[in-house]
Symmetry: C2
Subunit: 178 residues, 2 copies
């Protein structure tokens, strides 16, 4: 790493793909203030010092009223000159969450619509963004063949600096090799 | 996403794990200015607007003199209150690279040592960091059983804003479902 101090270059946004495995439905919203109404996973920007999974859980609750728990990281997007990022680069992560409640009470300031949508529909519809469509197909593969095919599980490891920890995400190793 | 402008909260660092599949050796360095001499993958902070893979390739070349090409993203670490990050959060990504040249001409300002080390040694040694050790075991699994088990391939997708693109990283889908 460079020996000179540097500035933060990225904002980090996190979305939560809340999948109900029993019904095969996933929680999606349509943003209120966008020109194109596309189904997306609820999400938003991380607060300073907030872990990825915590951002996803908080944003899902704030936008939809649904309580959920973090399961894994699914995808990472890096984008530069993002119009919403004011010259910063943008890192946008999508997590897989498991619902703990199902009643929707969505934020009418942020969302136009919110619903539990069959994953097979979201994977095929044109009324969505390319990244949402891609992750929907990824989730469908996980639902059918096992989430270990798509998951990046989180693990807390000790930092080299005493008393500190960090979160690490990568493909799971077979237990014999972990 | 929030409708209010926010500030960049994260610095992004990228390391390159340059693995020579023929010899089973990986390129590692020891930092000059650290108290504990631990073998690590060469890496450093992203320049503004620089893609993850490009940072890895550039830092590997600057530190070791070895030319390499990006293959995949392997792991993501998020850490808060990182001593080197001056109050920012830190996102540290490790990529898998393929060597194009093998001669080492390392930067004596940054590195104390630099060598091609057998991956089996790096996976077992105590003279490394927990994250390097973990990724070494991940690479060893990939080398033995196929890199599709560990890789997060990169793909360029069109942004919803015309003429812009972003990089997306996730587990590969079977071709029939992509």
């Amino acid at each position: 790493e460079s020996r000179l101090p540097r500035f933060a270059t990225h904002q980090v946004g996190v979305a939560g793909a809340v999948l109900d495995e029993a019904s095969g439905k996933v929680l999606v919203v349509q943003d209120k203030n966008k020109t194109k109404n596309a189904w997306k996973f609820p999400g938003g920007l991380s607060d300073p010092g907030e872990n990825i999974g915590d951002t996803a859980v908080r944003e899902v609750l704030e936008e939809t009223g649904v309580q959920a728990e973090f399961r894994s990281l699914l995808s990472i997007r890096q984008q530069h000159n993002h119009p919403g990022a004011f010259g910063m680069s943008d890192m946008y992560l999508i997590c897989r969450l498991r619902p703990l409640t199902f009643h929707i009470d969505f934020c009418t300031q942020e969302c136009l619509r919110c619903e539990w949508q069959p994953l097979v529909e979201l994977a095929c519809t044109d009324a969505t963004t390319p990244i949402t469509s891609r992750v929907a197909r990824l989730l469908l593969h996980g639902l059918r063949h096992g989430f270990h095919h798509i998951d990046l599980p989180a693990e807390q490891l000790p930092a080299v600096y005493s008393g500190m920890f960090y979160q690490l995400y990568h493909r799971a190793l077979p237990l014999t090799e972990a």
